[in-house]
Symmetry: C2
Subunit: 207 residues, 2 copies
């Protein structure tokens, strides 16, 4: 049973390892990963040990093997089909983000409830009517949904997604949307990220 904090760090190691692999590096020492991420070497070693034996034969860890092992733990060794609900400011930006695809998350459709947006295009996606959601999900394998709707609509849209059988929701609305039944919900609040930064700035400035 891997703790969530370890999962976040494994995802960070994966990103660094992919970058090293693009640079044709074959091995990496835990110390070098630790330095690139501002972590302690002992933390990196402990985290990587939960991947099982990946070998450290004096030249460091084999990067390709680490990538495979981390992707297996994170579940990104397979493709995930994702839909986006909410084609507003944030939704439009997210729909064009190549970083999701690079980690195995393929955006396949965009939905909205605004008649002025339905039928328009966001990137290469036609904006579909939310009312066709159930029909679309029944006929296509959809794993996850990104929620970029106003806070006032987030819970009701989330329960529609759950009823349609979506396994996971990434919620950007600044309201707690609880996981229930068979749907896992994860909230991301960008204002809270700024609050955490403000706290760290104040703490680091104290004499």
């Amino acid at each position: 049973e891997i703790p969530v904090a370890t999962v976040s760090r494994l995802a960070l190691y994966l990103r660094e390892l992919q970058q090293l692999q693009r640079g044709a590096t074959v091995h990496v020492r835990s110390q070098s990963l630790a330095e690139r991420l501002g972590l302690k070497d002992s933390q990196v070693r402990r985290d990587l040990s939960c991947l099982g034996p990946v070998g450290q034969r004096g030249v460091g860890y084999p990067i390709a093997d680490l990538i495979i092992a981390i992707e297996r733990v994170l579940g990104t060794d397979r493709a995930w089909n994702v839909i986006l609900v909410g084609a507003g400011n944030l939704g439009r930006a997210l729909s064009g983000y190549k970083g999701f695809d690079q980690q195995g998350f393929r955006l396949v459709a965009v939905f909205d409830s605004d008649p002025n947006k339905i039928g328009s295009k966001v990137e290469e996606f036609p904006v579909q009517d939310l009312d066709t959601l159930e029909f679309f999900v029944a006929n296509t394998q959809i794993d996850l949904a990104i929620l970029a709707v106003p806070a006032s609509a987030a819970r009701s849209v989330a329960s529609r997604l759950e009823a349609a059988g979506i396994a996971g929701i990434l919620n950007f609305a600044p309201i707690a949307v609880q996981s229930s039944g068979s749907t896992t919900v994860q909230d991301v609040d960008l204002a809270i990220e700024l609050q955490r930064l403000a706290f760290s700035v104040v703490r680091n400035q104290r004499p």
Copy 2:
């Protein structure tokens, strides 16, 4: 010394308390906060105890006092002036987000290095040339910067911001930008958020 995980939860409580206050609620029990956020009551009580005595006289915590106490701990009982660097897809979405202002983070200027963007408008902000950054920061009290530039530019822009005296950077580029000197950097990687969600979905589906 409050741990970072507690800080994130305090920010969540603050969001719920502000919502309750908008609904004219005056007191709240820790149990009710716990239920709204899917946390344990004992966790909420322990977190709120680090705010010092805020009273729990049988009717629950006084919401207005809790809000003041949490804002003081987070450092958001004052205004923070923020600049945005990168007026692309994500930058444009972030520049219009009202949620930052509601928590005391006021966007005051937008910068970019692309001649095609400089001089255009993003929301009510003129896109300024990054080359004028040092002059602007020298003449205006700027506390934080949001970094929405490509990964290839993130570290060099961050060191310019540090040299200009910015205290904190919220980095959205999918690359580790290390804090150094007097600048605190916090990375947000939205692809990593999806990876964490994928991990939770797989874990919750296991028999």
